[in-house]
């Protein structure tokens, strides 16, 4: 089969690789229908995370079950499934507590599983899925072509924005500021709106992203960044700042911006993978700013979010503004790297 391989910084290719086979009786093999490129894929793509050897990449996909192992009981060949960006058994003590990202049997696409067997990346034609019953969520029927893009966001980007909002604790009627206008930040706007936020300020300098932010529920846009941006947020929100700030970037600067945008007693939900983020604990302590978040336990959220996607209440897939076939995956990465695309969908 063909699968995306990152050979070195900015050297991404579609290579011929071995077809995956069932290895354990809890496995399934899924034929990928659509995948996409994540902002976090850009860290190794840009060489900021070192790439020492060619690596399979991609962790967001939807597809159709092709084969199942003998003990898989909830899925059958032909089922349309959503794969969370990590696999998990959905039965262990930590899955039981909703932290599927810490599953004792879990792992990451494109890396080895606990047995030392390699797992395919999501940007390819086929994927061996460990713990298929636990990992995959099947839709009640085959989705339309248009719905595929919407469902694909449940693999990562939308539940990650949702995780920022849930971790912060967004409540109905509250004020929310969102730092980051990438696909996750926009998803966080949509998630906050869905949870009933009363007033949402999106921070964005780009007209196309501002438009989607407004479509997703932002009431106000702040184009300034850093201290000036935070001051603008505070001025808009009663002079004190936001009840909840959703930090969707992961840099030291974006976290500072988030801290300064929160009101005393406010909460920050953060989902941007932290790079050089340090927290000013005495300042947080004095102002009673709390922070929670992390790698989103997507599997815990999919079943909650799926009905609203299927009935069209929310359209998280509108973050995709570029769709390319898998053999143009390099173009898809380049567009996101150069910020000419918000998020690239790959059709297989």
């Amino acid at each position: 089969m063909r699968a995306t391989v990152l050979h070195a910084a900015r050297d991404i290719r579609l290579d011929d690789v071995a077809d995956p086979q069932l290895k354990h009786d809890t496995d399934a093999v899924v034929r990928v229908v659509a995948s996409c490129v994540c902002g976090s894929d850009l860290w190794p793509y840009r060489g900021i995370n070192a790439v020492d050897q060619p690596v399979r990449i991609g962790h967001e996909f939807v597809g159709v079950v092709e084969q199942v192992g003998s003990s898989v009981s909830t899925l059958a060949p032909g089922d349309f499934v959503i794969a969370p960006f990590m696999f998990s058994d959905n039965t262990c003590i930590l899955c039981d507590r909703g932290v599927h990202t810490s599953c004792v049997n879990g792992g990451i696409w494109g890396h080895d599983d606990k047995h030392g067997d390699p797992i395919d990346g999501g940007q390819g034609e086929l994927v061996r899925v460990p713990w298929a019953d636990g990992t995959l969520v099947a839709t009640p029927s085959q989705p339309s072509q248009q719905m595929v893009a919407q469902l694909l966001t449940l693999s990562d980007v939308f539940p990650t924005g949702h995780h920022a909002a849930v971790s912060a604790g967004v409540t109905p009627g509250s004020t929310v500021a969102v730092v980051g206008d990438g696909a996750v930040g926009l998803s966080a706007v949509l998630a906050a709106k869905r949870l009933g936020a009363g007033r949402i300020v999106a921070m964005s300098r780009h007209e196309d992203r501002q438009r989607i932010a407004r479509q997703f529920g932002a009431d106000e846009i702040v184009a300034e960044r850093g201290k000036e941006g935070a001051a603008a947020v505070r001025e808009i929100l009663d002079g004190i700042g936001a009840d909840f700030v959703l930090e969707c970037v992961g840099t030291g600067d974006s976290m500072k911006q988030a801290m300064l945008s929160a009101r005393p007693g406010g909460r920050i939900g953060y989902v941007g993978v932290p790079h050089d983020v340090s927290l000013n604990v005495p300042a947080m302590f004095g102002r009673n700013i709390g922070i929670a978040g992390g790698v989103a336990p997507v599997r815990n959220y999919i079943e909650d979010l799926l009905p609203d996607v299927l009935d069209g209440t929310i359209r998280p897939g509108d973050v995709f503004d570029l769709t390319v076939p898998l053999d143009q995956v390099a173009d898809g990465y380049r567009a996101m790297d150069e910020r000419t695309a918000i998020k690239t969908m790959l059709t297989i």
Copy 2:
């Protein structure tokens, strides 16, 4: 009047100072009935926080209203009142959101108010109380001698423990670990129990403190500290750690111990004033550990906690194991410094 003054590290004296007078029509003057020494008073007492000049000290007291300003409407001379450890107007936008410690008109006993007028410390005979209607909480009747100690804890130590539990988000049936066996840590045990925690592990090496921890609701005691202590907590709590960890010390070591005691997806409530605390953000992110807390907005909690104290449901005043008259204040500090007392009450 006589009031406690810290002249230099470990040089604490009862000095004669000027009697306070009403200065603003929102003021009251309170005759102190009982005060106490806080763990945070030990930072300047020990010289860890620099003492450049003699300072009035003490921020926890109960007493009887002696005089009120012309616009004070909810209090009258003779009322028995509880003073939170910071004053606040209880009407501003931040008090309205429950963050009285960030009150736009608020401040700290023993320091100047917003007008630049000095405010008395709490370890003295009289205190001028700014924003008396907002700051003070009157009891429905005059308390018994025995009840005074219980009520005095509502000034700081018990609501501070409560703040750790509320900030962490302790829920009924949850597992809780408490780091710190000082008066605040013991109060946090009691607060977690009151909020319905299902299983509480207190970390303490001292038999007298262990006894109070058990009396307050601890199910298990862990005497080890650091990594070993955290490993013991994890072993007791399902092998994964606590849903909620209450950090009541404020050192880098105690925070590390708290982090390692939390399960993935757990929350830390912290109320120990941070000294050299840094947070490992990537580790928190990977394990979805959240943290919230800070300087406790005691005024927001007193009315909620008062009924349970008055009817004897809880006895937070049992943290006092030494009571001395005000003129022996130096002995009271020494006992806490040398850890021969958990918490010292001063009778005036």
